[in-house]
Protein backbone atom coordinates (compact mmCIF):
# COMPACT_ATOMS: atom_id res chain seq x y z
CA UNK A 1 0.00 0.00 0.00
CA UNK A 2 1.13 3.48 -0.83
CA UNK A 3 0.99 6.11 1.88
CA UNK A 4 0.88 9.79 1.09
CA UNK A 5 4.22 11.29 2.11
CA UNK A 6 3.80 14.30 4.39
CA UNK A 7 6.19 16.31 2.26
CA UNK A 8 4.04 15.77 -0.83
CA UNK A 9 0.92 16.68 1.13
CA UNK A 10 2.53 19.87 2.37
CA UNK A 11 3.80 20.66 -1.12
CA UNK A 12 0.30 20.28 -2.59
CA UNK A 13 -1.33 22.32 0.16
CA UNK A 14 1.19 25.16 -0.25
CA UNK A 15 0.44 25.23 -3.97
CA UNK A 16 -3.29 25.29 -3.26
CA UNK A 17 -3.06 28.10 -0.72
CA UNK A 18 -0.76 30.25 -2.85
CA UNK A 19 -2.89 29.55 -5.91
CA UNK A 20 -6.13 30.32 -4.10
CA UNK A 21 -4.63 33.64 -2.96
CA UNK A 22 -3.68 34.40 -6.55
CA UNK A 23 -7.20 33.61 -7.78
CA UNK A 24 -8.80 35.80 -5.08
CA UNK A 25 -6.40 38.66 -5.85
CA UNK A 26 -7.25 38.25 -9.53
CA UNK A 27 -10.98 38.40 -8.88
CA UNK A 28 -10.61 41.42 -6.57
CA UNK A 29 -8.43 43.28 -9.03
CA UNK A 30 -10.87 42.91 -11.90
CA UNK A 31 -12.39 46.33 -12.53
CA UNK A 32 -15.75 46.76 -10.82
CA UNK A 33 -17.08 49.45 -13.14
CA UNK A 34 -16.41 51.21 -16.42
CA UNK A 35 -15.20 54.26 -14.51
CA UNK A 36 -12.32 52.28 -13.10
CA UNK A 37 -11.34 51.20 -16.59
CA UNK A 38 -11.48 54.83 -17.78
CA UNK A 39 -9.31 55.90 -14.90
CA UNK A 40 -6.87 53.13 -15.67
CA UNK A 41 -6.70 54.16 -19.31
CA UNK A 42 -6.22 57.80 -18.34
CA UNK A 43 -3.35 56.80 -16.07
CA UNK A 44 -1.78 54.80 -18.83
CA UNK A 45 -2.04 57.69 -21.24
CA UNK A 46 -0.55 60.02 -18.67
CA UNK A 47 2.37 57.64 -18.43
CA UNK A 48 2.80 57.67 -22.16
CA UNK A 49 2.52 61.46 -22.20
CA UNK A 50 -0.29 61.56 -24.76
CA UNK A 51 -2.61 64.10 -23.21
CA UNK A 52 -4.44 65.38 -26.28
CA UNK A 53 -7.63 63.46 -27.04
CA UNK A 54 -9.35 64.31 -30.27
CA UNK A 55 -13.08 64.86 -30.26
CA UNK A 56 -13.89 62.15 -32.80
CA UNK A 57 -12.01 59.60 -30.76
CA UNK A 58 -14.32 59.99 -27.82
CA UNK A 59 -17.06 57.76 -29.18
CA UNK A 60 -14.49 55.19 -30.18
CA UNK A 61 -13.08 55.41 -26.68
CA UNK A 62 -16.49 54.70 -25.16
CA UNK A 63 -16.73 51.51 -27.14
CA UNK A 64 -13.15 50.64 -26.32
CA UNK A 65 -13.79 51.15 -22.61
CA UNK A 66 -16.91 48.98 -22.83
CA UNK A 67 -14.99 46.13 -24.43
CA UNK A 68 -11.98 46.49 -22.23
CA UNK A 69 -14.17 46.49 -19.15
CA UNK A 70 -15.74 43.17 -20.11
CA UNK A 71 -12.44 41.66 -21.13
CA UNK A 72 -10.76 42.60 -17.87
CA UNK A 73 -13.75 41.26 -15.94
CA UNK A 74 -13.53 38.00 -17.84
CA UNK A 75 -9.81 37.59 -17.31
CA UNK A 76 -9.69 36.02 -13.81
CA UNK A 77 -12.65 33.77 -14.62
CA UNK A 78 -11.08 32.63 -17.87
CA UNK A 79 -7.84 31.93 -16.05
CA UNK A 80 -9.70 29.72 -13.56
CA UNK A 81 -11.60 28.06 -16.39
CA UNK A 82 -8.40 27.23 -18.33
CA UNK A 83 -6.73 25.68 -15.29
CA UNK A 84 -9.86 23.78 -14.20
CA UNK A 85 -10.39 22.42 -17.69
CA UNK A 86 -6.75 21.47 -18.22
CA UNK A 87 -6.49 19.31 -15.11
CA UNK A 88 -9.98 17.91 -15.64
CA UNK A 89 -8.99 16.94 -19.18
CA UNK A 90 -5.94 15.04 -17.88
CA UNK A 91 -8.19 12.92 -15.67
CA UNK A 92 -10.67 12.41 -18.50
CA UNK A 93 -7.97 11.49 -21.02
CA UNK A 94 -6.51 9.00 -18.55
CA UNK A 95 -9.95 7.48 -18.14
CA UNK A 96 -10.25 7.05 -21.91
CA UNK A 97 -6.77 5.54 -22.13
CA UNK A 98 -7.63 3.23 -19.24
CA UNK A 99 -10.84 2.14 -20.97
CA UNK A 100 -8.85 1.41 -24.13
CA UNK A 101 -6.55 -0.87 -22.10
CA UNK A 102 -9.55 -2.84 -20.86
CA UNK A 103 -11.40 -2.93 -24.15
CA UNK A 104 -8.33 -4.03 -26.10
CA UNK A 105 -7.36 -6.50 -23.35
CA UNK A 106 -3.87 -5.06 -23.40
CA UNK A 107 -1.21 -7.30 -21.91
CA UNK A 108 1.49 -4.73 -21.26
CA UNK A 109 -0.35 -2.27 -19.04
CA UNK A 110 -2.01 -4.01 -16.04
CA UNK A 111 0.91 -3.09 -13.75
CA UNK A 112 0.01 0.54 -14.46
CA UNK A 113 -3.75 0.21 -13.87
CA UNK A 114 -3.62 1.55 -10.34
CA UNK A 115 -1.59 4.55 -11.46
CA UNK A 116 -4.26 5.33 -14.05
CA UNK A 117 -7.03 4.79 -11.50
CA UNK A 118 -5.23 7.18 -9.17
CA UNK A 119 -5.20 9.88 -11.83
CA UNK A 120 -8.85 9.33 -12.70
CA UNK A 121 -9.52 9.82 -8.99
CA UNK A 122 -9.48 13.50 -9.91
CA UNK A 123 -12.39 13.00 -12.34
CA UNK A 124 -15.17 13.43 -9.79
CA UNK A 125 -13.80 16.55 -8.03
CA UNK A 126 -12.78 17.96 -11.42
CA UNK A 127 -16.27 17.30 -12.81
CA UNK A 128 -17.92 19.05 -9.90
CA UNK A 129 -15.67 22.08 -10.35
CA UNK A 130 -16.28 22.17 -14.11
CA UNK A 131 -20.03 21.91 -13.61
CA UNK A 132 -19.98 24.69 -11.02
CA UNK A 133 -17.97 26.94 -13.35
CA UNK A 134 -20.36 26.29 -16.23
CA UNK A 135 -23.34 26.90 -13.94
CA UNK A 136 -21.81 30.18 -12.75
CA UNK A 137 -21.57 31.29 -16.39
CA UNK A 138 -25.13 30.21 -17.07
CA UNK A 139 -26.46 32.11 -14.07
CA UNK A 140 -24.65 35.24 -15.13
CA UNK A 141 -21.98 35.44 -12.43
CA UNK A 142 -19.45 35.85 -15.21
CA UNK A 143 -19.77 36.47 -18.92
CA UNK A 144 -17.00 34.37 -20.40
CA UNK A 145 -19.47 32.65 -22.75
CA UNK A 146 -20.45 35.54 -24.98
CA UNK A 147 -23.34 33.67 -26.62
CA UNK A 148 -25.18 33.41 -23.29
CA UNK A 149 -26.11 37.09 -23.55
CA UNK A 150 -29.92 36.94 -24.20
CA UNK A 151 -29.72 40.18 -26.21
CA UNK A 152 -27.88 38.35 -28.99
CA UNK A 153 -30.87 36.14 -29.84
CA UNK A 154 -33.50 38.84 -29.37
CA UNK A 155 -34.53 40.10 -32.83
CA UNK A 156 -35.75 43.38 -31.28
CA UNK A 157 -32.38 44.21 -29.79
CA UNK A 158 -29.75 46.22 -31.67
CA UNK A 159 -27.20 43.63 -30.50
CA UNK A 160 -29.13 40.88 -32.33
CA UNK A 161 -26.66 38.42 -33.77
CA UNK A 162 -28.02 36.52 -36.74
CA UNK A 163 -25.40 33.76 -36.56
CA UNK A 164 -25.69 33.11 -32.83
CA UNK A 165 -29.51 33.19 -33.10
CA UNK A 166 -29.26 30.57 -35.84
CA UNK A 167 -27.36 28.29 -33.49
CA UNK A 168 -29.75 28.79 -30.58
CA UNK A 169 -31.22 25.31 -31.03
CA UNK A 170 -27.89 23.97 -29.72
CA UNK A 171 -26.38 26.96 -27.96
CA UNK A 172 -28.96 27.68 -25.27
CA UNK A 173 -28.32 27.72 -21.56
CA UNK A 174 -30.72 24.97 -20.38
CA UNK A 175 -29.47 22.59 -23.08
CA UNK A 176 -25.89 23.53 -22.25
CA UNK A 177 -26.25 22.57 -18.59
CA UNK A 178 -28.29 19.43 -19.31
CA UNK A 179 -25.68 18.22 -21.79
CA UNK A 180 -22.86 18.93 -19.33
CA UNK A 181 -24.72 16.93 -16.70
CA UNK A 182 -25.14 14.01 -19.10
CA UNK A 183 -21.48 13.93 -20.14
CA UNK A 184 -20.19 14.22 -16.59
CA UNK A 185 -22.60 11.65 -15.19
CA UNK A 186 -21.73 9.14 -17.90
CA UNK A 187 -17.98 9.51 -17.46
CA UNK A 188 -18.16 9.36 -13.66
CA UNK A 189 -20.43 6.32 -13.73
CA UNK A 190 -17.89 4.45 -15.83
CA UNK A 191 -15.07 5.50 -13.54
CA UNK A 192 -17.05 4.37 -10.49
CA UNK A 193 -18.02 0.94 -11.81
CA UNK A 194 -14.74 0.17 -13.51
CA UNK A 195 -12.83 0.93 -10.33
CA UNK A 196 -15.29 -1.14 -8.31
CA UNK A 197 -14.93 -4.10 -10.68
CA UNK A 198 -11.12 -4.13 -10.67
CA UNK A 199 -11.11 -4.04 -6.86
CA UNK A 200 -13.61 -6.91 -6.77
CA UNK A 201 -11.45 -8.80 -9.21
CA UNK A 202 -8.48 -8.45 -6.88
CA UNK A 203 -10.54 -9.99 -4.11
CA UNK A 204 -12.18 -12.79 -6.04
CA UNK A 205 -9.85 -13.52 -8.94
CA UNK A 206 -11.20 -15.38 -11.95
CA UNK A 207 -12.52 -13.65 -15.02
CA UNK A 208 -16.07 -12.68 -14.04
CA UNK A 209 -15.28 -9.06 -13.14
CA UNK A 210 -12.73 -8.84 -15.89
CA UNK A 211 -15.43 -9.63 -18.46
CA UNK A 212 -17.82 -7.14 -16.93
CA UNK A 213 -15.11 -4.52 -17.03
CA UNK A 214 -14.44 -5.32 -20.67
CA UNK A 215 -18.10 -4.78 -21.54
CA UNK A 216 -18.56 -1.49 -19.74
CA UNK A 217 -15.25 -0.22 -21.12
CA UNK A 218 -16.38 -0.88 -24.68
CA UNK A 219 -19.72 0.82 -24.06
CA UNK A 220 -17.98 3.73 -22.36
CA UNK A 221 -15.63 4.27 -25.29
CA UNK A 222 -18.57 4.62 -27.69
CA UNK A 223 -20.29 7.02 -25.31
CA UNK A 224 -17.05 8.89 -24.72
CA UNK A 225 -16.09 9.53 -28.33
CA UNK A 226 -19.48 11.13 -29.03
CA UNK A 227 -19.76 13.09 -25.79
CA UNK A 228 -16.11 14.21 -25.86
CA UNK A 229 -16.69 15.77 -29.25
CA UNK A 230 -19.87 17.52 -28.09
CA UNK A 231 -18.11 18.62 -24.90
CA UNK A 232 -15.37 20.26 -26.95
CA UNK A 233 -17.96 22.25 -28.93
CA UNK A 234 -19.83 23.26 -25.80
CA UNK A 235 -17.01 24.02 -23.45
CA UNK A 236 -14.33 25.37 -25.78
CA UNK A 237 -15.54 26.08 -29.30
CA UNK A 238 -18.46 27.97 -27.70
CA UNK A 239 -16.04 30.74 -26.75
CA UNK A 240 -15.95 31.68 -30.44
CA UNK A 241 -19.65 31.18 -31.23
CA UNK A 242 -19.38 32.40 -34.84
CA UNK A 243 -16.61 30.02 -35.69
CA UNK A 244 -16.70 26.30 -36.27
CA UNK A 245 -14.30 23.53 -37.13
CA UNK A 246 -15.41 20.02 -37.95
CA UNK A 247 -12.34 18.34 -36.49
CA UNK A 248 -12.34 20.29 -33.26
CA UNK A 249 -13.41 17.30 -31.17
CA UNK A 250 -10.47 15.28 -32.46
CA UNK A 251 -8.12 18.15 -31.87
CA UNK A 252 -9.15 18.48 -28.23
CA UNK A 253 -9.05 14.68 -27.87
CA UNK A 254 -5.47 14.51 -29.16
CA UNK A 255 -4.31 17.18 -26.72
CA UNK A 256 -6.20 15.46 -23.92
CA UNK A 257 -4.70 12.03 -24.60
CA UNK A 258 -1.13 13.21 -24.96
CA UNK A 259 -1.35 15.19 -21.71
CA UNK A 260 -2.95 12.23 -19.94
CA UNK A 261 -0.34 9.73 -21.09
CA UNK A 262 2.41 12.16 -20.12
CA UNK A 263 0.97 12.41 -16.62
CA UNK A 264 0.67 8.60 -16.38
CA UNK A 265 4.35 8.31 -17.30
CA UNK A 266 5.37 11.03 -14.86
CA UNK A 267 3.42 9.57 -11.94
CA UNK A 268 4.76 6.09 -12.73
CA UNK A 269 8.36 7.33 -12.85
CA UNK A 270 7.83 9.27 -9.63
CA UNK A 271 6.37 6.29 -7.76
CA UNK A 272 9.10 4.06 -9.14
CA UNK A 273 11.75 6.48 -7.86
CA UNK A 274 10.15 6.26 -4.41
CA UNK A 275 10.59 2.49 -4.47
CA UNK A 276 7.04 1.51 -5.39
CA UNK A 277 5.76 -0.24 -8.56
CA UNK A 278 8.38 -2.98 -8.42
CA UNK A 279 7.04 -4.58 -11.60
CA UNK A 280 7.17 -1.49 -13.76
CA UNK A 281 10.33 -1.76 -15.86
CA UNK A 282 11.84 0.50 -18.45
CA UNK A 283 9.89 -1.25 -21.22
CA UNK A 284 6.65 0.08 -19.72
CA UNK A 285 8.12 3.57 -19.62
CA UNK A 286 9.33 3.04 -23.19
CA UNK A 287 5.79 2.20 -24.28
CA UNK A 288 4.32 5.24 -22.55
CA UNK A 289 6.97 7.42 -24.17
CA UNK A 290 6.09 5.93 -27.56
CA UNK A 291 2.50 6.98 -26.93
CA UNK A 292 3.68 10.47 -25.91
CA UNK A 293 5.65 10.70 -29.14
CA UNK A 294 2.87 9.27 -31.30
CA UNK A 295 0.07 11.40 -29.88
CA UNK A 296 2.25 14.52 -30.11
CA UNK A 297 2.59 13.87 -33.83
CA UNK A 298 -1.13 13.12 -34.06
CA UNK A 299 -1.95 16.38 -32.30
CA UNK A 300 0.29 18.30 -34.71
CA UNK A 301 -1.33 16.57 -37.67
CA UNK A 302 -4.75 17.75 -36.50
CA UNK A 303 -3.48 21.23 -35.63
CA UNK A 304 -2.04 21.59 -39.09
CA UNK A 305 -5.06 20.06 -40.84
CA UNK A 306 -7.30 22.58 -39.13
CA UNK A 307 -4.93 25.45 -39.79
CA UNK A 308 -4.04 24.75 -43.41
CA UNK A 309 -7.57 24.22 -44.72
CA UNK A 310 -8.80 27.42 -43.09
CA UNK A 311 -5.70 29.36 -44.14
CA UNK A 312 -5.96 28.16 -47.75
CA UNK A 313 -9.72 28.69 -48.15
CA UNK A 314 -9.46 32.09 -46.46
CA UNK A 315 -13.20 32.38 -45.81
CA UNK A 316 -13.71 35.37 -43.48
CA UNK A 317 -16.02 33.63 -41.00
CA UNK A 318 -13.53 30.81 -40.54
CA UNK A 319 -10.27 32.66 -40.74
CA UNK A 320 -11.04 35.14 -37.94
CA UNK A 321 -10.16 32.40 -35.46
CA UNK A 322 -6.58 32.30 -36.65
CA UNK A 323 -6.32 36.03 -37.38
CA UNK A 324 -7.06 36.89 -33.76
CA UNK A 325 -4.60 34.26 -32.54
CA UNK A 326 -1.80 35.20 -34.89
CA UNK A 327 -2.21 38.95 -34.32
CA UNK A 328 -2.76 39.02 -30.57
CA UNK A 329 -1.20 35.76 -29.40
CA UNK A 330 1.58 35.28 -31.93
CA UNK A 331 4.33 34.03 -29.64
CA UNK A 332 2.07 31.79 -27.57
CA UNK A 333 0.26 30.41 -30.58
CA UNK A 334 3.34 29.42 -32.56
CA UNK A 335 5.45 28.79 -29.47
CA UNK A 336 3.06 26.10 -28.29
CA UNK A 337 3.21 24.40 -31.69
CA UNK A 338 6.98 24.22 -31.28
CA UNK A 339 6.67 22.94 -27.70
CA UNK A 340 4.11 20.33 -28.64
CA UNK A 341 5.70 19.17 -31.87
CA UNK A 342 9.39 19.96 -32.27
CA UNK A 343 10.49 19.05 -28.75
CA UNK A 344 8.71 15.69 -28.47
CA UNK A 345 9.72 14.88 -32.05
CA UNK A 346 13.42 15.43 -31.50
CA UNK A 347 13.69 14.35 -27.86
CA UNK A 348 11.62 11.19 -28.05
CA UNK A 349 12.57 9.97 -31.53
CA UNK A 350 15.49 7.88 -30.36
CA UNK A 351 14.41 4.52 -28.99
CA UNK A 352 16.97 4.60 -26.16
CA UNK A 353 15.89 8.06 -25.01
CA UNK A 354 12.39 6.74 -24.36
CA UNK A 355 13.78 4.61 -21.50
CA UNK A 356 15.73 7.40 -19.82
CA UNK A 357 13.51 8.53 -16.97
CA UNK A 358 14.74 12.08 -16.67
CA UNK A 359 14.34 12.62 -20.41
CA UNK A 360 10.78 11.33 -20.31
CA UNK A 361 10.02 13.62 -17.36
CA UNK A 362 11.72 16.60 -19.03
CA UNK A 363 9.89 16.12 -22.31
CA UNK A 364 6.72 15.54 -20.30
CA UNK A 365 7.06 18.93 -18.63
CA UNK A 366 7.47 20.58 -22.05
CA UNK A 367 4.45 18.70 -23.43
CA UNK A 368 2.28 19.64 -20.46
CA UNK A 369 3.37 23.29 -20.67
CA UNK A 370 2.63 23.26 -24.40
CA UNK A 371 -0.83 21.82 -23.97
CA UNK A 372 -1.61 24.17 -21.11
CA UNK A 373 -0.80 27.04 -23.45
CA UNK A 374 -2.84 25.33 -26.15
CA UNK A 375 -5.93 25.37 -23.90
CA UNK A 376 -5.10 28.96 -22.95
CA UNK A 377 -4.93 30.02 -26.60
CA UNK A 378 -8.17 28.16 -27.37
CA UNK A 379 -10.07 29.93 -24.58
CA UNK A 380 -8.60 33.39 -24.11
CA UNK A 381 -9.09 35.08 -27.51
CA UNK A 382 -12.85 34.49 -27.18
CA UNK A 383 -13.06 35.90 -23.66
CA UNK A 384 -10.41 38.55 -23.13
CA UNK A 385 -9.32 39.25 -26.71
CA UNK A 386 -6.15 41.27 -26.91
CA UNK A 387 -6.11 42.20 -23.21
CA UNK A 388 -4.45 39.00 -22.16
CA UNK A 389 -1.52 38.79 -19.85
CA UNK A 390 0.05 36.01 -17.87
CA UNK A 391 -0.01 37.43 -14.37
CA UNK A 392 -1.31 36.70 -10.91
CA UNK A 393 -4.76 35.36 -11.91
CA UNK A 394 -3.36 32.96 -14.52
CA UNK A 395 -0.45 31.67 -12.45
CA UNK A 396 -2.60 31.53 -9.30
CA UNK A 397 -5.25 29.42 -11.00
CA UNK A 398 -2.64 27.09 -12.45
CA UNK A 399 -0.91 26.64 -9.07
CA UNK A 400 -4.19 26.05 -7.27
CA UNK A 401 -5.41 23.38 -9.65
CA UNK A 402 -1.97 21.79 -9.84
CA UNK A 403 -1.93 21.50 -6.04
CA UNK A 404 -5.47 20.16 -5.93
CA UNK A 405 -4.77 17.67 -8.70
CA UNK A 406 -1.57 16.42 -7.06
CA UNK A 407 -3.24 16.11 -3.70
CA UNK A 408 -6.27 14.21 -4.97
CA UNK A 409 -4.32 11.95 -7.34
CA UNK A 410 -1.80 10.89 -4.73
CA UNK A 411 -4.35 10.45 -1.99
CA UNK A 412 -6.49 8.27 -4.25
CA UNK A 413 -3.37 6.20 -4.96
CA UNK A 414 -3.26 5.34 -1.24
CA UNK A 415 -6.73 3.80 -1.30
CA UNK A 416 -5.83 0.50 -2.96
CA UNK A 417 -2.72 -1.66 -3.41
CA UNK A 418 -0.56 -0.36 -6.27
CA UNK A 419 -0.70 -3.69 -8.08
CA UNK A 420 -3.98 -4.78 -9.67
CA UNK A 421 -3.26 -8.38 -8.74
CA UNK A 422 -6.54 -9.79 -10.08
CA UNK A 423 -5.92 -8.89 -13.70
CA UNK A 424 -5.69 -12.02 -15.86
CA UNK A 425 -2.94 -10.38 -17.91
CA UNK A 426 -0.81 -9.51 -14.90
CA UNK A 427 1.90 -12.09 -15.57
CA UNK A 428 2.29 -10.91 -19.15
CA UNK A 429 2.54 -7.35 -17.92
CA UNK A 430 5.13 -8.21 -15.26
CA UNK A 431 7.31 -9.88 -17.87
CA UNK A 432 6.68 -7.29 -20.51
CA UNK A 433 9.90 -6.81 -22.35
CA UNK A 434 10.56 -4.78 -25.41
Amino acid sequence: MYTLPNKLKLFAIIFMVVGALGMVVGLMNAPGSKEEVKEMLANQEAHHGESSVHAEEVHHDEEHVYHLYHQLQNRPWSAIYVAAFFFFMIALGTLAFYAIQHASQAGWSPVLFRVMEGITGYLLPGSIIMFLLLALSVFGVNHIFHWMDPELVNPESDKYDYLVAGKAAWLNTPGFLIRAAIYLTGWNLYRYFSRKYTLKQDEEGGTHWFKKNFKISAVFLVFFIVTESMMSWDWIMGFDPHWFSTLFGWYVLAGMLVSAITVIAMVAVFLKSQGYLEYVNNSHIHDLAKFMFGFSIFWTYLWFSQFMLIWYANIPEEVTYFVSRIEDYNLLFFGMVALNFVFPLLLLMNSDFKRVNWLVIGTGVLILAGHYIDVYVMVMPGTVGASWFIGIPEIGAMLFFFGLFTYIVFSSLTKAPLLAKGSPFLEESKHFHY
Partner: protein
Protein backbone atom coordinates in the same frame (compact mmCIF):
# COMPACT_ATOMS: atom_id res chain seq x y z
CA UNK B 1 39.74 -20.85 -47.71
CA UNK B 2 37.63 -23.68 -46.50
CA UNK B 3 36.59 -23.72 -42.86
CA UNK B 4 34.60 -26.27 -40.96
CA UNK B 5 31.25 -25.21 -39.53
CA UNK B 6 28.49 -27.08 -37.77
CA UNK B 7 24.86 -26.62 -38.74
CA UNK B 8 22.51 -27.24 -35.85
CA UNK B 9 18.86 -27.37 -36.86
CA UNK B 10 15.96 -26.53 -34.55
CA UNK B 11 12.21 -26.67 -35.04
CA UNK B 12 11.10 -24.14 -32.46
CA UNK B 13 12.08 -20.50 -32.00
CA UNK B 14 12.00 -20.65 -28.20
CA UNK B 15 14.34 -23.66 -28.20
CA UNK B 16 16.56 -21.82 -30.67
CA UNK B 17 16.69 -18.71 -28.46
CA UNK B 18 17.74 -20.78 -25.45
CA UNK B 19 20.29 -22.66 -27.58
CA UNK B 20 21.80 -19.39 -28.82
CA UNK B 21 22.14 -18.15 -25.24
CA UNK B 22 23.69 -21.45 -24.06
CA UNK B 23 26.10 -21.60 -27.00
CA UNK B 24 27.35 -18.12 -26.34
CA UNK B 25 27.70 -18.89 -22.66
CA UNK B 26 29.84 -21.92 -23.57
CA UNK B 27 32.09 -19.61 -25.63
CA UNK B 28 31.44 -21.16 -29.01
CA UNK B 29 31.35 -18.72 -31.90
CA UNK B 30 28.02 -18.41 -33.72
CA UNK B 31 28.63 -17.48 -37.34
CA UNK B 32 25.04 -16.90 -38.38
CA UNK B 33 21.47 -17.93 -37.58
CA UNK B 34 18.94 -18.57 -40.37
CA UNK B 35 15.26 -18.34 -39.48
CA UNK B 36 12.06 -18.42 -41.56
CA UNK B 37 10.75 -15.31 -39.78
CA UNK B 38 12.24 -12.58 -37.59
CA UNK B 39 12.67 -13.97 -34.07
CA UNK B 40 12.12 -11.24 -31.51
CA UNK B 41 15.21 -10.59 -29.39
CA UNK B 42 17.48 -12.89 -31.40
CA UNK B 43 19.87 -10.06 -32.29
CA UNK B 44 20.40 -9.27 -28.63
CA UNK B 45 20.83 -12.95 -27.71
CA UNK B 46 23.45 -13.31 -30.46
CA UNK B 47 25.24 -10.23 -29.20
CA UNK B 48 24.99 -8.35 -32.48
CA UNK B 49 25.74 -4.63 -32.36
CA UNK B 50 22.56 -2.52 -32.44
CA UNK B 51 21.48 -1.53 -35.93
CA UNK B 52 22.43 1.89 -37.22
CA UNK B 53 19.69 1.77 -39.84
CA UNK B 54 17.50 4.15 -37.81
CA UNK B 55 20.26 6.78 -37.83
CA UNK B 56 20.62 6.57 -41.61
CA UNK B 57 16.84 6.80 -41.88
CA UNK B 58 16.83 10.02 -39.85
CA UNK B 59 19.55 11.48 -42.06
CA UNK B 60 17.69 10.50 -45.24
CA UNK B 61 14.59 12.17 -43.80
CA UNK B 62 16.55 15.38 -43.23
CA UNK B 63 17.84 15.18 -46.82
CA UNK B 64 14.26 14.71 -48.07
CA UNK B 65 13.09 17.70 -46.08
CA UNK B 66 15.90 19.83 -47.50
CA UNK B 67 15.17 18.66 -51.06
CA UNK B 68 11.49 19.50 -50.69
CA UNK B 69 12.24 22.99 -49.37
CA UNK B 70 14.68 23.79 -52.18
CA UNK B 71 12.44 22.17 -54.80
CA UNK B 72 9.27 24.02 -53.81
CA UNK B 73 11.20 27.27 -53.55
CA UNK B 74 12.50 26.81 -57.08
CA UNK B 75 9.20 25.62 -58.60
CA UNK B 76 6.70 27.87 -56.87
CA UNK B 77 8.63 31.00 -55.96
CA UNK B 78 11.57 31.51 -58.33
CA UNK B 79 10.81 29.79 -61.59
CA UNK B 80 7.07 30.09 -62.13
CA UNK B 81 5.15 31.95 -59.39
CA UNK B 82 1.43 31.34 -59.60
CA UNK B 83 -1.48 32.98 -57.85
CA UNK B 84 -3.45 30.12 -56.32
CA UNK B 85 -6.56 30.93 -54.33
CA UNK B 86 -5.63 34.60 -54.02
CA UNK B 87 -2.25 33.74 -52.57
CA UNK B 88 0.41 35.10 -54.94
CA UNK B 89 3.71 33.33 -54.50
CA UNK B 90 5.86 36.29 -53.58
CA UNK B 91 7.82 34.80 -50.73
CA UNK B 92 8.54 31.35 -49.46
CA UNK B 93 7.64 31.98 -45.85
CA UNK B 94 4.20 33.38 -46.70
CA UNK B 95 3.27 30.35 -48.74
CA UNK B 96 4.99 27.84 -46.52
CA UNK B 97 1.79 26.21 -45.13
CA UNK B 98 0.87 25.13 -48.66
CA UNK B 99 4.22 23.38 -49.00
CA UNK B 100 4.08 21.50 -45.71
CA UNK B 101 2.31 18.45 -47.20
CA UNK B 102 5.06 18.27 -49.84
CA UNK B 103 7.74 18.60 -47.18
CA UNK B 104 6.12 15.85 -45.15
CA UNK B 105 5.71 13.48 -48.09
CA UNK B 106 9.25 13.89 -49.38
CA UNK B 107 10.68 13.44 -45.89
CA UNK B 108 8.82 10.15 -45.58
CA UNK B 109 9.61 9.15 -49.16
CA UNK B 110 13.35 9.72 -48.79
CA UNK B 111 13.55 8.16 -45.34
CA UNK B 112 11.62 5.05 -46.30
CA UNK B 113 13.02 4.31 -49.74
CA UNK B 114 16.63 5.09 -49.01
CA UNK B 115 16.43 3.13 -45.79
CA UNK B 116 15.15 0.07 -47.66
CA UNK B 117 17.86 0.43 -50.29
CA UNK B 118 20.49 0.78 -47.56
CA UNK B 119 19.13 -2.31 -45.91
CA UNK B 120 19.41 -4.28 -49.17
CA UNK B 121 22.97 -3.10 -49.79
CA UNK B 122 24.01 -3.77 -46.22
CA UNK B 123 22.50 -7.27 -46.31
CA UNK B 124 24.11 -7.88 -49.73
CA UNK B 125 20.78 -8.43 -51.44
CA UNK B 126 20.30 -7.53 -55.07
CA UNK B 127 18.49 -9.01 -58.09
CA UNK B 128 19.77 -12.46 -59.24
CA UNK B 129 21.63 -12.85 -56.00
CA UNK B 130 22.30 -16.48 -55.07
CA UNK B 131 20.54 -17.37 -51.83
CA UNK B 132 22.96 -17.72 -48.92
CA UNK B 133 20.88 -19.87 -46.65
CA UNK B 134 22.48 -23.29 -46.52
CA UNK B 135 19.30 -25.28 -46.05
CA UNK B 136 16.02 -24.63 -47.85
CA UNK B 137 14.07 -25.75 -44.81
CA UNK B 138 15.05 -22.48 -43.12
CA UNK B 139 12.60 -20.77 -45.49
CA UNK B 140 9.79 -22.94 -44.22
CA UNK B 141 9.69 -24.15 -40.62
CA UNK B 142 13.25 -24.89 -39.49
CA UNK B 143 15.83 -22.76 -37.73
CA UNK B 144 19.53 -23.18 -38.40
CA UNK B 145 22.40 -22.06 -36.22
CA UNK B 146 25.84 -22.07 -37.80
CA UNK B 147 28.74 -22.51 -35.36
CA UNK B 148 32.39 -22.16 -36.30
CA UNK B 149 34.31 -25.28 -35.32
CA UNK B 150 37.67 -23.48 -35.03
CA UNK B 151 39.82 -25.69 -32.81
CA UNK B 152 37.09 -27.18 -30.66
CA UNK B 153 36.53 -30.91 -30.51
CA UNK B 154 33.84 -31.82 -33.03
CA UNK B 155 32.38 -34.59 -30.88
CA UNK B 156 32.10 -32.39 -27.83
CA UNK B 157 30.51 -29.61 -29.84
CA UNK B 158 27.99 -31.96 -31.49
CA UNK B 159 27.10 -33.42 -28.12
CA UNK B 160 26.64 -29.97 -26.69
CA UNK B 161 24.39 -28.88 -29.56
CA UNK B 162 22.29 -32.01 -29.35
CA UNK B 163 21.76 -31.26 -25.65
CA UNK B 164 20.47 -27.79 -26.50
CA UNK B 165 17.62 -29.40 -28.41
CA UNK B 166 18.91 -29.54 -31.98
CA UNK B 167 17.04 -32.07 -34.11
CA UNK B 168 19.95 -32.40 -36.52
CA UNK B 169 23.65 -31.58 -36.27
CA UNK B 170 25.74 -31.60 -39.48
CA UNK B 171 29.41 -30.92 -40.07
CA UNK B 172 29.87 -28.87 -43.22
CA UNK B 173 32.86 -27.57 -45.17
CA UNK B 174 32.21 -23.94 -45.84
CA UNK B 175 33.65 -22.37 -49.00
CA UNK B 176 34.50 -18.72 -48.50
Amino acid sequence: MASKVIHAIYTDDDVLMQAVKDTRKAHYHIGEVYTPFPVHGLDKAMGLAPTRLAITSFMYGVVGLAVSIVMMNYIMIEDWPQDIGGKPSFSYIQNMPAFVPVMFELTVFFAAHLMVITFYLRSKLWPFKQAENPDVRTTDDHFLMEIDVENHSIEELSKFLQDTGAVEVNLVDKQE
